[in-house]
Symmetry: C2
Subunit: 228 residues, 2 copies
């Protein structure tokens, strides 16, 4: 079974895990509306999923539903947050304060989920010493010593592709154990390091397949379009 040994970062139920934040959103909305119990069927309808899928996914968490009533709303929220570790705060640094990095520093939702970006690093002298969305920006030259001192274990990587592997090696020397990788580089890291790679291409693939089915926007070639 060579395969199992290799699959170091494979999560068995990846699509199920990815759906949990959607459930959380639906259940929180129900809570705001004063609803006490919510059924798997209702959640499924809200999200265009099959009820059996919702019940299976929620089965990963410690929640127990009641026959004919559904899941108690407040405990369900706690159960999903517990499973995801969103009931606690995780401190992180961000490296690379370009447009994407800046957008992430201002993304309130991550903070709502317990991700607290405590510092950013950049090589741009004009940014060093400034605050971006209240987060202080430090010189990338101080990255290793600062992260070691603070003991932060998580980094968001939003540097240009050519810098990604080099910065990653600095981060690992500094004690970083989890990297949320927004670059398009497949990072080479030791087995013990957790890397989550974000790739817009997957979402774009879904968008395209849905549009393909309806022949939207394909092969358009119009002379009225603005010059590029």
């Amino acid at each position: 079974m060579v395969y199992l040994a290799m699959a170091k970062q494979k999560i068995a139920a990846a699509p199920s895990v990815r759906r949990l934040p959607l459930y959380l959103q639906v259940v929180r909305q129900a809570q705001r509306e004063g609803i006490q119990y919510i059924s798997g069927t209702f959640i499924a309808q809200e999200l265009n999923l099959k009820p059996i899928q919702v019940r299976k996914d929620l089965g990963m968490t410690p929640i127990i539903g009641k026959p004919k009533k559904g899941y108690p709303v407040a405990p369900l929220i706690r159960a999903i947050k517990y499973f995801l570790g969103w009931d606690t705060t995780r401190e992180a640094v961000l490296v690379g304060t370009g447009n994407l990095g800046t957008a992430l520093l201002g993304y309130q939702k991550l903070q709502d989920h317990g991700l607290l970006v405590v510092a950013a690093f950049d090589s741009n002298q004009e940014k060093i010493g400034s605050l971006i969305h209240q987060v202080p920006v430090f010189s990338v030259e101080t990255l290793e010593s600062k992260i070691l001192t603070w003991g932060v274990k998580i980094a968001l990587l939003t540097v240009p592709s050519h810098a990604a592997q080099g910065i990653t090696e600095m981060l690992i020397k500094a004690g970083i154990e989890g990297i949320w990788n927004f670059t398009n580089v497949k990072l080479k890291v030791p087995d013990r390091i957790v890397v989550q790679k974000e790739d817009l291409s997957s979402g774009y693939a879904m968008f395209c397949v849905m549009m393909q089915a309806r022949q939207i926007g394909k092969d358009c070639s119009r002379s009225l379009l603005p010059q590029r």
Copy 2:
């Protein structure tokens, strides 16, 4: 079967579709290295997937593998691009040139996949009339008339949450049929409109579950951290 009628935008094989861009990346790398045939097992190893999953996913596309040799590399690339509609150009507009919008305008990979953002719209007077990553920025007040004239059918939505539903209604009046929604708002749209909602929370959920398994960065509360 109320469910089927409701699932207007449900793609049966969503996780499979999401994986196709990863396969494309691996197969293109093989092509650059001069490889002629690639096996499902090799692709699976590169991506920590099961070989049977890769073969099943590629079965959605028109590629046919050869016993003992695998898939011919150049036809496999063409087959994936054909299935995703990435062998053609799609024109789109972007609304909202904040940090995320600006980052997307500079994201070369989307253009590589055939998405050509021909114009951007914003309400900020300082941006109107400028170019961002070579894309001209127009006043949001001219959005409806311009999109109608051009006949563009696809929009990327990167406006603040409070503006999302209003802009969406303008886009639909202007003939937009597909919306790639980067806001955290669940848009209300007619059935015929395709909406793909991007949500970083799903990726963050995966990242957290992987970190949970290794007890990374949880419940840290250090006095050495920089002030926020």
